[in-house]
């Protein structure tokens, strides 16, 4: 093992033990480890943004007054300066302008992204199961495919009803119609199944990470004993 590898292992084990000290009820060493993570990540993020975004898209076009991008770069420069003014008490109102620009553009991108990337594919995939060639084979109905398609449609509708909270207010409590309550309960079963499967996936990943961290500590101990 080279000296740099040994140093990496020692730092890694020390940080891992600091994080796991949380189990013993310690807050100081856990706090130190998380604050190191925040400090290093923030600096790394700042460096990446400066090198990959600010320098090539803003500074370089502005450095060439006769270049094609000079005038276009003045707008984000002005917006960035307005954002920096947010540090001063009197400049908070000016800082709302670049944030509004960002918010508006991102909202528009979200509208297009959600309709084209989420809603349309999900709904089309659900309805695609009702296409005749999916439900019939050699002029015979495929009952398992029909059952599956109907189940998916009803399941999705019932899940959507779980979040339907409108109802009559009785003595300060919102009472939903019995039909909605029933359909919502079926939806809850489907949500429970999904969350259960997601839980297992996440739990497995976390367990692998736990084993990896513990094996690093064991490797370090074996090095000395």
């Amino acid at each position: 093992m080279s000296p740099s590898e040994l140093l990496t292992l020692i730092v890694g084990v020390a940080l891992t033990v600091m994080v796991f000290s949380y189990i013993l009820g310690d807050r100081l060493f856990f706090g130190i480890a998380t604050h190191i993570l925040i400090g290093v990540s923030a600096a790394f993020l700042a460096l990446v943004v400066m090198q990959k975004v600010i320098l090539p898209y803003l500074v370089l076009p502005l450095a060439e007054p006769n270049g094609p991008g000079f005038w276009l770069a003045l707008v984000p420069l002005a917006l960035s300066i307005l954002m920096i003014l947010m540090f001063f008490r009197r400049g908070t109102q000016a800082g709302a302008i670049p944030l509004a620009f960002l918010g508006g553009a991102l909202a528009a991108l979200a509208i297009v992204g959600i309709t084209r990337g989420t809603l349309a594919p999900q709904i089309l995939s659900m309805l695609g199961r009702f296409e005749p060639d999916q439900l019939m084979r050699e002029a015979q109905p495929q009952w398992s495919a029909i059952l599956g398609a109907v189940m998916i449609l009803l399941g999705v509708i019932s899940v959507l009803f779980v979040f339907h909270h409108r109802g009559q207010s009785k003595a300060g409590e919102v009472v939903r119609p019995v039909f909605l309550e029933g359909v919502g309960s079926i939806g809850q079963i489907f949500i429970g199944i999904t969350f259960g499967a997601l839980f297992v996936g996440l739990f497995s990943s976390a367990l692998i990470a736990l084993i990896s961290s513990l094996s690093d500590i064991i490797q370090f101990i074996r090095l000395w004993f």
Binding site: T8, G12, L15, T16, V19, F20, T34, H35, G39, V40, A43, F44, A46, L47, V49, V53, I54, Y57, V75, P76, L79, M83, M86, A96, I97, L99, A100, F101, L102, G103, G104, A105, A107, A108, I111, I114, T115, T118, L119, Q122, I123, G148, I152, G155, V156, I157, V159, L160, F190, I191, G192, I193, T194, F195, G196, L202, F203, A209, L210, S213
Partner: protein, 204 residues
């Protein structure tokens, strides 16, 4: 009270992006310019947010607030990484190795800690919410998928069982699809509210 200038800027930028997206290729040029601006302003916003975070912790240290030691750790680690990055260069393997040597073990250990927290949270859900269709289906599903994850039932190679497993493995997609559509509709409404100034910027 709504402030008019941010409201107009927000609505205008959103409507330009929307219009440019729906009249592509004519609007392609405008869209590229506006998206370029969005990337730069988002980058600047990120830098301002990071600077604000560090300045807040510097103020904590200066005032000697409770827990300033942790603020000191954050500021030192920030300055060290920034200085090393500027000296060595962000793309240099030695710098990336340094950042990885610190971030990787902490993130892996935190993820490992999540496994233990998730175990107790799963037990807590039954204590807090009692026996309902949601908790029972969650518990049963977790146990079934844990067993399926082991791969033991699949290795039995029983055709009927394999059919059942395939059916069961498809069940979470129903809930996921419903949740995705529900979240999508909610986000869509929120985006329209932001675009028309009913939410977010422009408010005092």
């Amino acid at each position: 009270m709504k402030r008019p200038i941010p409201l107009i800027v927000g609505a205008l930028s959103g409507l330009i992006v929307l219009a440019a997206m729906f009249i592509v290729p004519q609007g392609g040029g405008i869209l590229a310019i506006v998206l370029n601006w969005v990337i730069i302003v988002a980058g600047a916003a990120l830098l301002v947010a990071i600077a604000s975070l560090v300045l807040t912790h510097v103020r904590f240290i200066a005032k000697g607030k409770k827990g300033f030691l942790l603020s000191l750790v954050l500021v030192i680690s920030f300055i060290t990484t920034l200085a090393l990055g500027l000296l060595l260069g962000v793309d240099r393997p030695s710098f990336l190795k340094f950042v990885g040597a610190i971030i990787r073990p902490i993130e892996t250990a935190l993820l490992g800690l999540v496994a233990l927290v998730m175990m107790s949270a799963a037990m807590k859900i039954f204590r807090e919410r009692g026996w309902s269709s949601l908790t029972v289906s969650f518990g049963v599903s977790a146990i079934i998928f844990l067993i399926l994850g082991l791969g033991f039932p699949q290795n039995l190679n029983i055709p009927v069982l394999n059919e059942v497993i395939r059916f069961v493995e498809g069940l979470p997609m129903i809930g996921a699809r419903g949740l995705l559509i529900g979240i999508g509709i909610g986000l869509l409404l929120m985006a329209f509210r932001v675009l028309f100034g009913m939410e977010g910027f422009g408010n005092d």
